[in-house]
């Protein structure tokens, strides 16, 4: 197949141009945050929060306010609920996380089934970047700007928080504030990721690029750049591939991300399986 044609043909459709740009932006933002998620060990938390935002998204849809607001309330709310149950009962944390996020998620599914059509349900669950509306695009841009600016300003403090929160505390940094900043950004980016890959696969966007980059770098700044590059690449290429094979966009993006991780896992120059096997 003609390679130029393969890339150029989809761009004749306005919806594809939009889809590719939005995918790239979402890939960029989620990848940036994914570095903090993987280093802080928040993969399970990311999974929980990204699912728990569902009822918030549905309620926001009904009230005709931005999804991000509903997601924010339920995302942060779910973590507060997890903390409350953990401290007041003898149930272990991973169990609490599992039961809270599935409970919220189930509530969201009930709300969708009673309130909106099944088409909307599948869009929220599996993403609908090929049919994204202009208002959703604006919302994604706003979320992206907030997230990237916050990460840029608080980068050093957040890295310190992930690495050594005791030291952060000992020099008078407010770690409770940083915890809620990271949590809020997680809820917001879950909404952004929901546009492209859907709520079920959002956690991949928030974990995989960071994990891939973690294998390829020993410097935080390099790690962020590598994660962003891999996130944008898989988002854009995944959107293209889904167009050509007429398959699920979210699925294609996440499969590509996972393949990049596998390649890094095997061939990474320092932490890859091949090098490790050679050295041992």
């Amino acid at each position: 197949m003609d390679l130029i044609q393969w890339f150029a043909a989809p761009l004749q459709h306005e919806f594809m141009v939009k889809a590719i740009l939005v995918s790239a932006l979402v890939g960029l933002v989620c990848s940036a945050l994914s570095c903090y998620m993987t280093l802080k060990g928040w993969a399970l938390m990311g999974d929980a929060v990204s699912h728990a935002v569902l009822p918030g998204v549905v309620i926001a849809y009904v009230l005709n306010i931005p999804f991000a607001i509903g997601a924010f309330v339920f995302g942060v709310g779910s973590v507060i609920a997890i903390g409350f149950i953990k401290s007041k009962t003898r149930v272990k944390e991973d169990t609490v996380i599992g039961l809270v996020f599935t409970g919220f998620f189930a509530l969201g599914i009930v709300l969708i089934s009673k309130i909106t059509s099944t088409v909307d349900l599948s869009h929220i669950l599996f993403g609908n970047v090929l049919g994204i509306s202009d208002s959703d695009i604006i919302q994604t841009i706003v979320i992206s700007v907030i997230t990237l600016v916050t990460l840029a300003i608080l980068r050093k403090d957040l890295v310190l928080f992930c690495f050594d929160s005791t030291h952060a505390q000992s020099i008078g940094i407010n770690i409770v504030f940083l915890y809620y900043v990271l949590l809020s950004l997680l809820s917001l980016t879950a909404v952004a990721g929901l546009q492209t890959v859907g709520i079920i696969l959002v956690v991949a966007m928030l974990v995989t690029p960071g994990a891939t980059a973690y294998l390829l770098s020993d410097r935080f700044d390099h790690m962020v750049l590598i994660a962003m590059a891999s996130g944008v690449f898989s988002s854009v290429m995944g959107t293209y591939i889904s167009y050509h094979i007429d398959g699920s966009t979210g699925g294609c993006i996440v499969v590509l991300q996972t393949l990049l991780f596998v390649v890094a896992m095997i061939f990474a120059p320092k932490h890859g399986l091949l090098v490790r096997a050679k050295n041992s």
Partner: protein, 261 residues
């Protein structure tokens, strides 16, 4: 007039209703090194955490240079080096990055280092003989080098009160000696050091004062007066013999070396 640097008054700490530290009182003058000695679980780490304000005491108060801990932290007056087993050694940071974290309290919100910060980092790394390693990822270091890196971070903070929780655990003799020498230099410069250690014999070589702790402060004062066999047996429940009271690791080692040459 000698200034009181660390002032702990009647501090009681309980976790989930269980008392970990009962009614601890302690006053340390500026320019002293004070050893904190007790068994595992005797409340040493709890005392540090109470001083740093990480746990809220059920009663009592802590002042450093006459100020409450929040103000102390904001003014970079105290540096705390916890036990390091919880550090993620695979974290993508270099030795230099870690020591620079000691300077964040002096920087603006964006934490952009200026020349005094860079100088302090280089200085601190040179003092612990780690400057040539400054570009290494922290997981590539030996046990002693890891400890020296975190010690350098405390030096870079340029705080006149140092709290060190088991800094000699798992380090080589060379590192232990170097750190003791640095602590004695800091004492000369008027620093106050509170240090917990298992190495009982080395305590007598560099600590001016000793605090014996077992869920409460059993005794404290001049090392020569407090460090008696009777007090120690109270601290360790009558099993001093197991703790190598006789010789410090460093003197033992040098004798062994002599025997071999």
């Amino acid at each position: 007039m000698e200034q009181i640097s660390i002032d702990i008054e009647n501090v009681t700490v309980a976790y989930h209703g269980k008392v970990a530290l009962h009614s601890a009182s302690l006053q340390l003058k500026a320019g002293t090194i004070c050893g904190l000695v007790g068994m595992n679980g005797a409340g040493k780490s709890t005392l540090f955490k109470a001083v740093m304000g990480f746990v809220k005491p059920a009663s009592g108060r802590v002042l450093i240079n006459g100020l409450p801990i929040r103000q102390v932290q904001k003014q970079n007056l105290v540096a705390y080096v916890p036990q390091s087993e919880e550090v993620d050694w695979n974290f993508p940071v270099s030795v230099h990055d870690v020591v620079m974290m000691g300077r964040y309290g002096y920087m603006n919100l964006l934490r952009i280092p200026r020349s005094p910060d860079k100088r302090a980092v280089r200085d601190s790394l040179e003092r612990v003989e780690m400057w040539q390693m400054h570009d290494r990822q922290i997981g590539e270091l030996s046990g002693g080098q890891k400890k020296r890196t975190f010690f350098a971070r405390a030096l870079a903070q340029q705080s006149t009160v140092l709290l060190l929780d088991e800094p000699f655990a798992g380090v080589d003799i060379k590192t232990e000696k170097m750190m003791i020498n640095l602590l004695m230099e800091l004492r000369q410069a008027g620093y106050t050091v509170l240090i917990s250690t298992h190495d009982l014999a080395s305590v007598t070589t560099f600590c001016d004062q000793v605090v014996l702790i077992n869920r409460t402060i059993l005794a404290y004062g001049k090392t020569s007066e407090v460090f008696t066999e009777e007090n120690l047996s109270r601290t360790f429940g009558g099993s001093v013999g197991d703790f190598g009271f006789a010789k410090s690791r460093s003197t033992q080692r040098s004798q062994e070396e002599q025997e071999w040459t």
